[in-house]
Each structure stands twice: as C-alpha cells, then as structure tokens.
Symmetry: C2
Subunit: 390 residues, 2 copies
Amino acid sequence: MLGNFVYANPTKLYFGDEAQKNLAEALMPFGRKVLLIYGGGSIRRNGVYDDVMAALRATDKEVVELSGVMPNPTVEKLEEGIKVARDNDADFILAVGGGSTIDYAKAVAVSAWYEGNAWERFWIRQEDPAPGERIIPVGAVLTMAGTGSEMNGGSVITNPDTKMKIGKVFGEEVMPRFAVLNPRYTFSLPRRQMVAGIFDCMSHIMEQYFSGDDDCTSDYLAEGLMRSVIASSRVAVKDPENYEARSNLMWSSTWALNTLIGKGKPQDWMVHMIGQAIGAHTDATHGMTLSGISVAYYRHMMKYGVKRFARFAKIVWGIPANGKSDEQMASEGIDALGAWIREIGADSDISSLGVTPDMLDAIADSTIVLTGGYKTPDHAEIVEILRESL
Amino acid sequence: MLGNFVYANPTKLYFGDEAQKNLAEALMPFGRKVLLIYGGGSIRRNGVYDDVMAALRATDKEVVELSGVMPNPTVEKLEEGIKVARDNDADFILAVGGGSTIDYAKAVAVSAWYEGNAWERFWIRQEDPAPGERIIPVGAVLTMAGTGSEMNGGSVITNPDTKMKIGKVFGEEVMPRFAVLNPRYTFSLPRRQMVAGIFDCMSHIMEQYFSGDDDCTSDYLAEGLMRSVIASSRVAVKDPENYEARSNLMWSSTWALNTLIGKGKPQDWMVHMIGQAIGAHTDATHGMTLSGISVAYYRHMMKYGVKRFARFAKIVWGIPANGKSDEQMASEGIDALGAWIREIGADSDISSLGVTPDMLDAIADSTIVLTGGYKTPDHAEIVEILRESL
C-alpha cells in the first residue's frame, strides 16, 4: 500500500433472497417524485417490476417510468433521460437492471441539471460536477452481476456516430445511495449474459491486479476474489439456479469494482479500453469483448510483469511451481485463463463478435491508451493483439 | 453468501504517509467544539499531537482535551468522559490513538446524552441507541493497527469491580465519520504493541473464517487478508520501520473488522470471549490474550470443522496436501499458526500474562459463550483450553 489515497463508499447494500423487502425503507428518506429507469422490459416478466412497484406504492411515491435503456447506452438516450428528469423534476432515480441501466441512471443523475452538452463535459472533457451542482440521488435494484455499477461512481456512455464508448468515474456523490442485491433476480438472465457478467467481473479484478511490483494487500484481496469467482462460475454454468454460486458471483462483482482492490496501487485497464473500442464498432456484449482479447493481451504483457503473472498461476489457478521458471509459470497461468474462458462458454475470439480484419486499425484508433499497466501498448501493438484475437 | 444481510460502512478513510494533510478538510463539516481524546501521552512525543492540533487550529475549533485513556478503558473512565462531553457540549469527538482510545470515544459518543446508566444499558443489556437519540459524531486518527475500531461500530468497556470486559457492536451511526490512517504514525509503537496488534488482526479474521460449511466469497477474502498479514508481519518484526509492511498491516487490520469478511456467514468469536475474560482478570494486553489461547482453542475445535482447517493449512499457510488426510492437514495448519506466533514474538501462553491455575474457573465464569463457531465450548472445555494454554 505505497500510495496515498482516500477510500469512501457510502452505498448501503441490501443483500440476499429477501433483499427487496428493504426497498421501501431504503426509498423512505428521498423525495416523492421517482424516475424509474429500466431496460428492455424483462423485469416485467420475471416479477422484479412488481416487487419494485409494491415498494414504490408502499412509500407513496409518484413514479415516472423511462424504459428501453440499451446494453450500450447512447448519447441520444442520455438526452432523452435528461429531458424526462427535468420535465418531471425528479427527486430520485431508481435504476432497475444491470450495469448499463445503472450506468445510464448515473449519467442522467449528474447531467440533468447541467445546462451545457453533458457528453462533451463529462465524457469528452472528463470533468467532475462542480461542488454544489445539483445531482439527483440514485438507487439501484440489480438484476445482472458483473459491472459493479451498483457500488461505484462509474458510468459508460457510447456515441455511435463517432464510435466512442467512454467510461467516466464520478465521485462518491454520484454513487448509488443504496443497492438491492437479490441473487434470485439474476436467475432468469440468459446464460450468455450471465457468462459475460462473470468475465466482466474477472476482468475488473485482473485490470487492477496486473500492475505494480510492491507487496500490497490489495493484490491479496484480488486473489481471494478471483478464486471465489472461478469456483462459483464452474458451479453456475452447470447449474444457473444454484443460489450459493450466483450469490457469490453477485457479491464478488460488487467488490471487484467498488475501488477497494485498486487502493494503493497502479492499475492497467487496457483490456477494457480495447474492449470498449470493439464495443463502439460492433455493439458487442461488453464482457465478451473482454474475454475475446484477454489471452492475446496478457501474452503480450507477460514478460513485463512476469513475477506477477507467475504468482497469478500459483495462487489463483493453483498451478504447482515444482521448480518451474517464472516465465513457464506465467505462461501456464495464461493458459489456465484461456481454458477457463472456454470452459464457462465466454467468447475466446472477436471474429464471433463481428470484428473483421479491415476494422482493426479503426478499433485501435478508437482505443483510449492508459499508462498504468506493466507496459503501455502502442497503436501497432493494439492492432497486433486484435489480430491475434480474431 | 447464504445469509441475508445489510452492508453499510460510511467511514471515509484517508490513507498514506500524507494522510494527516486531509484532517482539516475532514473536520470542516462538524461543529466547533471538539473533544480531543487520547491515551497516555505518547502522541505528544512522536509528533502526532502537533499534526492534530495544527488541523484543529486551521479549522478554528474550540478544543477540550481528555487524556489518560487506558488500554482496557473502564466504566469509571467512561463516566468521566460522559461528564466532560456534556459539560462542554461537545459537537464532535476526535480520538487519537489505537483501538482502546477509539473504542472509548465511541462509548462516550453514544452515552453522553443518555440519562441512565450507560454501562448497564449498552454493555450489560446490549441495547442500541433509540432512533433520534443524540449521538456525538466521532473521527479517528489511528496510531496503532490491530483492532479495526477506526472503521466499525465496536466498543469494548471493562468493569474491573465485576471483572467484566464486554464488547458491543453499535450501528453505522456510531462508526467514525472519518479515519486518518498514516502508517508512519505506528512506527514509534513499542514492538510488543505492534505484535499484539498483528495478532489481534489475525484473530479477527480467524474468528470470522472458522465457521460455516458453505462456499462463501467472504472466506476467500479472509484468506487473502491472512496471507497479506502473515507476509507483512514477517517483514515488520525484522524491520519495524518498513513502510510497505506497516502500511499493509494497517490496511489489513481495518478490513479485518469492518464487517466485510463476516458477511453472509456465521462467526465464532470465542477466542475473543475467552481472551476478554482473561483481560478482565489480568489487565493483560488484548492481542496477547488471544495469541496465548488460540492454538489450544483451535486444537479443540478442529475436528468439528476439519475441512475448513485443512483449507486454512493449504491456502493460508501454503502447506502442500500431497495426499494427506484432512485431519493431518488441519493439524499442520494449526502447527503453522503456533510457529508463526512464536516467530513474530507474540505470547504463546497465558502464564506470562499473569494467569495462574487457581484463576481458571473464575475466568471461565466471566466468559460470555457464543454459539456461532463449529462447536460451542462449555464451561469445562473453556477451563481445559485455559489449562492447556498455561
């Protein structure tokens, strides 16, 4: 823990198969006009909508609904949300869904009362809200585990015209005030979405883990989380209604990206940057853009952080060292990661996501390059990683 | 994660060797009259007092000092604090010290405006404050890692007359609003105090880990923390001014007991219950009462949770399974724990703490018996564990 940092995470989490029973109490302190945001309407079929409406009625809220939030929420959709929030003078936003819906709710919350162009200010210029600026408080009811959006200040918005998919991490004033985490709410999710969420979670941990050379508690916590995700994923892909496994996956996803395991250390995040660029060009499922490139990416990075990759093999995958070199161990660890991607049924290439050889240059152009990893890839290397992932 | 639970932890943590630079900002939102609480005055010698006073002056606070908080804060001292807080109508309590000082500050905070007997209500009857009851907000500047008091609602108070040392866990409204965690503030601590803090932290993790049979993310996080504590302890006992090691120990202690790693699972806590009874009879250092009995305690419990103890050996201590039975692995794990206790210089018996054979019965009588572990020990078994620890 060599860095100086602040940890603050005020989100109150209600967890368990009866978590929704706390929703009315959680809503109580906030104003009467609630903007209810959700996605394609699956919550109307699986009973989650009814649970939420019961809590809203019990607390006598005035509800405005805004649905149709897409997997990669667009600037255009954001503009719609801003208008609805302002026209109705929403006191509170309740997001019901997965990461896209909660990300979107946070984007609306922070943008609704900003007078200028929100996309330009928050996503392009990467600005924070000014102190005292009006931000609408957000709450979340989670229906898909993976992004961790339920306990962080992150938001990702896509501009399909410019093919930019940009993430922004706001401060604690934008984090959800509460989140209802009922693992059963994730049972009706299609298997492919569940698997994408599992890999997204694993990738969040690896992005924070594969960086830094010091001895740091955060990396030990990351190893614990990865071991739990791997163990539970193996149960969940065989038995998606296994409550124990799905509950561990939900809890692990929340802690994989609520800032804890990145404290006091540098972080990489280039798999996400490349994955987001793929998403902007293809509209592919986020988690699958990450699984599609991770093996190629880490093979490129391995030699610059070989001790960490060897530790990954030993601790996370339980590969016995038996006198092997760090290089050998590191390589076996990445093999194990690749085998696990196939085992759980995540995509292990990007051709299946619609990426073709002629797109690689443009995807690399859309990739935001960060410098926190073991080695910062240049344009040519990103193209190479993409090519190896086809 | 089979249980239903709520996680809420609003404490804002400022961490690092420049953490104190945030103290003035952290104090800003609170009222002007600050009750400054500390222990025996070591903070006046190591510069911490000066740093704190500078922040208090910078924010124009009116300061009342209350010092002399002892390692096991007494009911009598609590009464003194209540009087000082009321007489001065304190708006805020700033605790500067280790777990005893912060525990004590929380006890004063919650009791100051209660009209009846605080010891009876909160510690004997284990009541919570009623909603809306006046609780003075607390902040903390940590000078010793171990108890985790800086990020939880816990408080332990001792009644020397009745030989009762009782812990109470209050809700989030009693948790420190912020804590300043500067690892350098722990450098001047005597080695014995450092080691006691290390074992206290390890014990907190084990109390939560050795319970439950399901697959639970919390246990994987606990394993990560234990591995980090063990690694850093080995550096710190050789080189107490190793910043990296001391910072990991500080961060691990905070996360060992801020409720995270106990979520969704049963917990044991009998080592602490017996240790606290020893403390009430001897005034011994808390961490050493735990190290003194842990090996005997876990040898008694091992057969009731043998799979978990075998996992402890393999994952936490890295002992190769090599076809050994769970019983054999479990036993080797406890051997490793015992060897580590000696290696870091923690006490491995209770005779050195002043416990004599004639006291065992009375200590067992003072022990509060909890039922969350693999097996609930009865009076005879507690006496037996104590005898084996002499």
